[in-house]
Amino acid sequence: MRSSAVDNGLRTGVTFGIVIVTMFLIGFTVTGAGLIGKLFGASDSATPSLMFYSLFMILIGMWAGASASPRPLTEADTFKRALISGLVAGLVSGAIAAVIGFIFGDLSANKIDPRTYLPSVSPDSIKLFLFNQTPLMGSLTLLALMTVSAAVSAALSFFFRSNHWLKNKSGETSNAARGFFQSAGLNRVLQSQYASYVFWAITAVVLIILPRVWGSYWNYVFGTVGIYIILGLGLNIITGWAGQLVIGYVAFFAIGAYTFALLTAPEPHHLTVNFWVALALGVLVAGISGLLIGLPILNLRGDYLAIVTLGFAEIIRILLKSDLMTDYTAGPRGIRDIGGPTILGKPFVSDVDFMYVIIVAVLAVTFIAHRLRNSRTGKAWFAINLDETVARATGINAFGSKLLALSLSAAVAGLAGALFASRNQFTGPDDHALMVSINVICLVIVGGIGNIPGVFLGAFALKGLPEILRETESYRLLIFGVLLVIMMRLRPEGFLPARRPELEKHAAQTPSGKEA
């Protein structure tokens, strides 16, 4: 019988070997190394330094090791098995990379330029791939580097997982308990109350300082991330918790943005309502529109809500764009010079100030969402999501609960829309295309549907990461796509699934217990 540890390592190793070779062939090894260099503040140069390239490869090796180490961790998994998986994964992926590296190195040494067929494989990139060494030495280095980093990271990730696992099975003894690092001391420190105080204090300091120091570009990027976090938290209420798919969520975003814009911009209505009043009205109008949309359809079974909101969003966008409404909503031109926040009459409009406004809004919405989740209403939503018939049989007013969820979701989207319009000082029909809805749905799903931290992660991954990857220009979408595919493969329920995995372990730990 073949050991599953070797098997596991083999499979992961082949996958990662192919990934490395592909990256090399499209010239991404150079780009990736350059990216790492940027992260450490190295200046731009045509070929990044060897050190950053090594670091890049080590990261990939560690990733391979982490994927190869056993998951889920069962009692049969020992430290040795984890190490073997990692070692095999590293060896195999390293060997694949080394063979390809050797072939290309040899070709290059014989003055054959592969660029005729593979435009991205320049002699420089081959040299870098082989650590500026001879083909033989270079490919051996590659092999060694991958093996060591994968083994180390498999060992490390075993340690983290077994620790985590211990926490869930507190009290019970098991192999893993007797296994490698026991580190009860570390656990105690991590679980103590002070650790959480320290954590929050650091977070608060970071949140206060960062907007001041990292410049307006990052304030812009993370302002957008913040607005999408708000949107995600909002959509989570109706879709994640109450389980009702809303496709045209952008409609409420648009209603919030336009309500706010029309109330504070000089054109077309010459209104200059106070920021906070306009913000509240934006939220209110969006919330009411959610209520009105929900009234006729929420007592129907099926996904009518998805379809109706989809239509609603398109109607709103087309109306905003049409000449018909130009006198009222400024038509396709959009609305300019939208007002910013003021506090006690003092304008509050620099990018730093606005970042603070967004941070406060995110915190407020997070707090409300958290309270809702654990409330009676939150439980009713969850019950409806799981089984509407039974929910009604236990005395839940399904229609009322769904209606409340939809208008709360809409109100939160209104808040996001108003903030968005105010920050950009402009809003037009194109800000409210269906793509916004799709992005929000994606970020909620990627993060782990129904989960609050998941929304944060999803928003960073979908709105922050593409900006960070902007440096890599043409590869941006490629990497992004690859990341999405990998993550949906590893975590089909999202990065941070809302359902409590520790409870569902029972299913995963059956003897045959390994998913294909």
Binding site: K379, D387, A393, G395, R499, L503
Partner: protein, 235 residues
């Protein structure tokens, strides 16, 4: 206590109940038996307010309830345990029971009721932190009934509680039903297992394609040749 008169229920063009009338007095167990598709579940769904009759009336303790929304019917004390082990699969046993007490806000009372449920179904106590969906079929059925009890029903509507259970478990479930009844809850019982249902029922009705075709005490129906031929697998 419950008076159903001339109930006419449609699913679109399907005329599922064609004038069903029956009654149930305080403290009784009334069984409703019939073949697949006869309309038994439809009757329960209509009584609990999930379906609306096109004609006819349902009265509970003298008040018409056929236009009352289901959540208010629950508050009046009619609890429906739907067919097919309908529990919240991704909630724990404890959380499922808490949902049963959704209409109750008194934390201490909820805990007391939960203890009572655990006393009745000790298996559930052992599995209190396990997800509902990972329980065995019989345990899920117990959980569904337990959840119903959490709301202090005056009238419990049970839809095929013995479905898919082993003979021993069926006996247990029927014992429990009788016990619940003895402690003062009236029960409207829908069953495929006519033998057992008639044995514990005070009175029973036989439903056939949307019509009540026979009625009588449980004992009488057990001896009725037509019932024996059609529902008791007799000769």
């Amino acid at each position: 206590m419950l008076k159903v008169e001339n109930l006419q229920v449609y699913y679109g063009a399907i005329h599922a109940l064609q004038g069903v009338s029956f009654h149930l007095e305080q403290g009784e167990i009334v069984a409703l038996i019939g073949a697949n598709g006869a309309g038994k579940s439809t009757v329960l769904n209509t009584v609990s307010g999930i379906l609306r009759p096109r004609e006819g009336s349902v009265a509970f303790e003298g008040q018409a309830i056929h236009e009352t929304p289901p959540q208010d019917i629950v508050r009046k004390g009619i609890i429906h345990v739907p067919e097919g082990r309908k529990i919240f699969s991704r909630m724990t046993v404890t959380e499922n029971l808490e949902m049963g007490a959704y209409t109750n806000n008194d934390r201490a009372a909820i805990n007391r009721d939960m203890e009572a449920v655990f006393a009745r179904f000790s298996r559930l106590r052992e599995r209190r932190d396990q997800l509902g969906g990972t329980l065995s079929g019989g345990e899920q059925q117990m959980l569904a009934i337990g959840r119903g009890l959490m709301a202090h029903p005056k009238l419990l509507l049970l839809d095929e509680p013995s479905m898919g259970l082993s003979p021993i478990l069926v006996e247990q479930i029927f014992d429990i039903i009788q016990d619940i009844n003895e402690q003062g809850t009236s029960i409207l019982l829908v069953e495929q297992n006519a033998q057992m249902a008639l044995a514990i029922a005070d009175r029973a009705y036989v439903l056939e394609t949307g019509n009540i075709v026979m009625q009588g005490t449980g004992d009488d129906l057990l001896k009725d040749p037509k019932v024996i031929a059609a529902y008791l697998g007799g000769h």
